[in-house]
Symmetry: C2
DNA sequence: CAAAAACATGTAATTAATTACATGTAACAA
DNA sequence: TTGTTACATGTAATTAATTACATGTTTTTG
């Protein structure tokens, strides 16, 4: 395996909401999901083909206008099973692509038990990370002189702390 | 071009600070830089080779112990030029890999004019984005019912706003 | 009605990135 | 001294992702 192929799960999640074309899926990355993930149509169309081979999804054709036939994709039972297994897996606290946010996006029910579990474990992960960052700050930039000496690095660390701290606050509010 | 190959600039930035081995560079992604970027040694070593061919860097060998010879890399004038050109380019407000943070990390001087410019343009970009997100929230989740109906999506949008808002505050503090 | 924008679907070429494979040295601690 | 951890450097195989190429239809707007 080279990567977790999370795009696959995003597609499953989106199709779990309802039937969609490749174009619809691609569009989702221009708005909502684009907030924390990106994908191009040239990545989506081949993946849809592969996912259909793997029996995660199927498609039906829709006649539109005189000539155009579009493919609308649907999630299969196997696809739903895979999607839910992914949701239940622990999420890494990656700095770039945030898998937790990604999973959260697909939780509909505010009172879901899964949501509760997800938030608790993520909160643990993030508070650990925050205290680690705070240790680093104290260690590397103990005084004003050291802060000024490497201002960019100092700012970035401050930013990471603020981000993590905001993240923790937000998690607590869920 | 398939991507911006920002790893190249990170390496230039790190070598601009001082001579380093491939191992040193790889280690940087376990601590500081790991906060907002990732790279493996298997990506770094081949890239170092390529960058040396492109005359961005050179290396000298260091005898250590009885047998081991390590390669310590240095940035060339051309490399420095390229690095500074990158710093001066506008940074995208990507959601995953944050190029602005990346550049900031390499700014030493708190009173640098470049820093001032960078912050101003990034602030503009980010405030625009924030207001766009706030519009989205008002549009998609106007009442409690809509928030509950799609709680995960609501949380994610709230998170994006909180993140952007924190980002803007942090930028203002630089 | 004509033009433009949005819809719709793909492939090809290239580059980026991960995981796994592969090997060996040096320093340090028990 | 022996085992473990950290240092050190690569390659190979695979997958992920971007950019560019390619084409055509439908809907909307002026």
């Amino acid at each position: 395996m080279a990567q977790k192929n999370r795009l696959q799960y995003i597609i499953l999640g989106l199709l779990n909401i309802g039937s969609k074309t490749g174009y619809d899926l691609a569009k989702a990355f221009d708005s909502d999901i684009g907030e924390f993930w990106s994908a191009n149509h040239s990545q989506i169309y081949p993946l849809l083909k592969k996912m259909e081979q793997d029996e995660m999804i199927t498609h039906h054709e829709i006649q539109v206008g005189q000539k155009l036939v579009k493919k609308s994709y649907d999630i299969t039972d196997q696809g739903k099973k895979n999607f839910h297994e992914w949701l239940e897996e622990p999420s890494e606290a990656d700095n770039s692509h945030d898998e937790f946010i990604l999973k959260l996006y697909f939780i509909k029910d505010a009172n879901s038990e899964l949501l509760e579990e997800m938030v608790v474990s993520q909160l643990e992960l993030r508070t650990d990370k925050l205290s680690h960052l705070q240790d680093q700050l104290a260690d590397k930039f103990p005084d004003q002189a050291s802060q000024q000496a490497n201002y960019g690095h100092y700012c970035v660390l401050k930013h990471a702390i603020q981000r993590e701290s905001g993240y923790v606050d937000w998690l607590k509010g869920i």
